[in-house]
Symmetry: C2
Subunit: 428 residues, 2 copies
């Protein structure tokens, strides 16, 4: 790659596309550091340039001529969804040797083999981490990190809408229709929720995951698909009574010399890691012969999280274009400094044994305040048994390490303090 | 890479090394498919060839001459641990342009910058996913998947020994010394547990993670480190009373223009995903500006899981050697078939409304048995309210989809069956 600017064409400016446009523009300097070349967003292809735009910063970038935009670009990011014209446009790019990042699960689950073949033929790269489980890195770990292992099974909660609905039914006892209505009201489900609640969305993702996990070409036609529309509040209650929660799972499992790929409601034991995936979150549980059981968890949808996955693909792919090799740059362009512990801010839990006398606690509280350490709770745990001393537990608001240490030194020197039993940081 | 065999030198034959030797040998055919070249383990360097060997299959591979082995290899896998002679040997390989996979966290946390520079200079690849969190893919997601995002914080349970001890203290009320003794008895802690319980092991991993997450060169000297030896049963009980659990966390967080890197015991709210990481498992929780909150969970140690991470690095790196490009092969070498749903085996939970009459349940049980579907539990949920019917819930043992469907068709046709309310698969 001779030029030092990578020209990017963005197809689609919806929820995810507009976030990608924002990140490519706002983070341009950081992206240049990461890639080793500057990045220019040369245009955003949309159906109607007069329609409301999610990304308003650069109205001059919008165009309806996707083909001209593709022809002028080095890399194409496709976020339009649907089979056509996305398929034809991606093939146009790949056939011309231009690398493509896509988040189009329906297209990849149907025509992934054709697209991969076009990329292989021209030497272009094709990446699509954003197509499965939003921001959660799952395709790269399957393809690279587990590349030396034998995957036996993948279980995934890969659709946030249905997980939100089932989680609501489980926690509130709601009927399916009420939970769906609530999900629609909150924007977790679309006006036409068919693709989510009938399992089609998860089925596309299952086909993509199974292809990578088992090194085979599967399409959505290989996936057995059942949705959650027949799940009743009674089913959920009966499952709960037996220690289960109902989840819509995408299951890809080795089965002799074949692979079974299906999406169906499943009773999952409460003790299973997937059982505690709540709300619209996604999680993918992987079993491999040597690695054992792994789980990947995070936001499975949403503009910014999905855009993060798109940008991750883009940076990795752009590094390879620039370096012409494995695409691993030196990691140290930022060269941030390690900050001294003195300045680190945290909450603290402090255990102190004091003499059981009037005024002792007030005195300790005053010392904390004098050192700028604000007390959130102070609790007398219990007498220590000798009748003259008491054990107290203080949880502080956020304070610097230096202030906390000074406070504890002064407290420790008090005649009325017998012992400082513990000083432990508090998360959250 | 002109030759079609990749010659591998293995340094170290301990717990992980012996598993790597086994996988390189036993899975040779599969590795060839994945890489596009055959793989030959040409030797295993050990200190003493007469010592007991974990991997017995090929005694002729063992040698004490590591340098000669390195010089004859294309790729070097270093699993000896410690700073020297590992550092000198890895530099010997990298300087000669030979790519290296290492699991040596202490070395990478101390001399990672020097090793990366040597690799960059000669164009060799250096990978070390196994150095952090065993089988859990965390370095590659940080480096590639989140390459377009701004990471703000990483919280990790990166040491299985201390997590086992703290988990025991939390669940049994044990004192530290008793929990440590139990961990030693079960092989989770070494005879000299210092590196684990004082936090040094986690600190090495924190330095490696912080370097990748924040694109900066950090070493173990930048990490503030506190162990768990002062944590008492009282501390654990007090934390529990307030809704917390104590975990040894590795924390890497952006702090203005710097990064704070530390390992310390921390009170984690029970509702936090890291709170439910039990036993010797590891988990890494990542916060990024756009991706939001992600978690990676799995076995953080052990011979086979760690060897899986080593092999993943090796296959990814070998693909790049063979392809000379981005190292992404077509995914379809295995070409497994999708299996028909009829043959899929699962447990089922079935809800049936029946007439409340003598013999109805026995008749249904007989029909299940006749179709080869074994009943695990049959439970009468309750009367349906009309006084003439009852709702029953059957959970089956594992049965094929075909047998279950035939069973349900016959049951559905019974005069005494009013409704089949649900048929849902059961996981676990």
């Amino acid at each position: 790659m001779g030029n030092t600017t990578i020209k990017v064409a963005l197809l689609g400016a919806g929820n995810v596309g507009s976030q990608v446009a924002r990140m490519l523009t706002e983070d341009a300097e950081s992206l240049q550091d990461r890639i080793g070349a500057s990045v220019e967003l040369i245009g955003i292809a949309v159906r109607d340039t007069s329609a409301k735009r999610h990304y308003e910063a650069a109205p001059e970038l919008y165009t309806t001529d996707a083909d001209a935009l593709i022809d002028a670009a080095d890399v194409v990011i496709e976020l339009t969804g649907g089979i056509e014209p996305a398929r034809t446009r991606i093939l146009r790019a790949l056939n011309a040797g231009k690398s493509v990042v896509s988040g189009n699960k329906a297209l990849l689950a149907k025509h992934g083999v054709e697209l991969a073949a076009a990329a292989a033929k021209s030497g272009a790269q094709l990446s699509y981490e954003a197509a499965v489980a939003g921001a959660i890195p799952i395709l790269r770990p399957l393809r690279d990190s587990l590349a030396g292992d034998q995957i036996t099974r993948v279980l995934g909660i890969m659709n946030g809408t249905t997980n939100y609905i089932l989680d609501q039914m489980d926690t509130t006892g709601a009927q399916f229709s009420d939970a769906l209505a609530e999900a629609q009201r909150l924007g977790y489900a679309e006006a036409d929720p068919t693709a989510d609640i009938e399992g089609h969305d998860a089925a596309s993702k299952a086909a993509i995951v199974a292809s990578l996990a088992f090194h085979s070409d599967f399409t959505i036609d290989d996936v057995h698909c059942e949705g959650i529309t027949s799940i009743t509040a009674d089913d959920v209650a009966a499952a709960a009574a037996d220690g289960y929660v109902i989840k819509l799972l995408a299951v890809c499992e080795k089965d002799g010399e074949g692979v079974n790929i299906r999406v169906n409601p499943t009773l999952v034991p409460r003790s299973h890691p997937l059982a505690s995936v709540h709300g619209a979150f996604n999680a993918v549980f992987v079993q491999a012969e040597n690695a054992g059981e792994l789980m990947f968890y995070g936001p499975g949808a949403g503009g910014a999280p999905t855009a993060s996955a798109v940008l991750g693909d883009f940076v990795s792919l752009a590094r390879r274009l620039v370096l012409g090799g494995p695409g691993i740059p030196e990691s140290s362009f930022a060269q941030l400094a390690a900050t001294p512990m003195n300045d680190v801010v945290s909450r603290y839990s402090v255990g102190i044994v004091v003499e059981d006398k009037l005024g002792v606690l007030a005195n300790i509280a005053r010392i904390f305040a004098e050192h700028g350490v604000s007390i959130e709770t102070m609790r007398q745990a219990k007498g220590t048994g000798d009748g003259t001393s008491a054990s107290i537990r203080i949880v502080t608001h956020r304070a610097t390490d230096a202030n906390l240490r000074k406070t504890m030194a002064v407290v420790d020197a008090l005649d009325t303090v017998r012992d400082i039993t513990s000083v432990i940081r508090v998360e959250g």
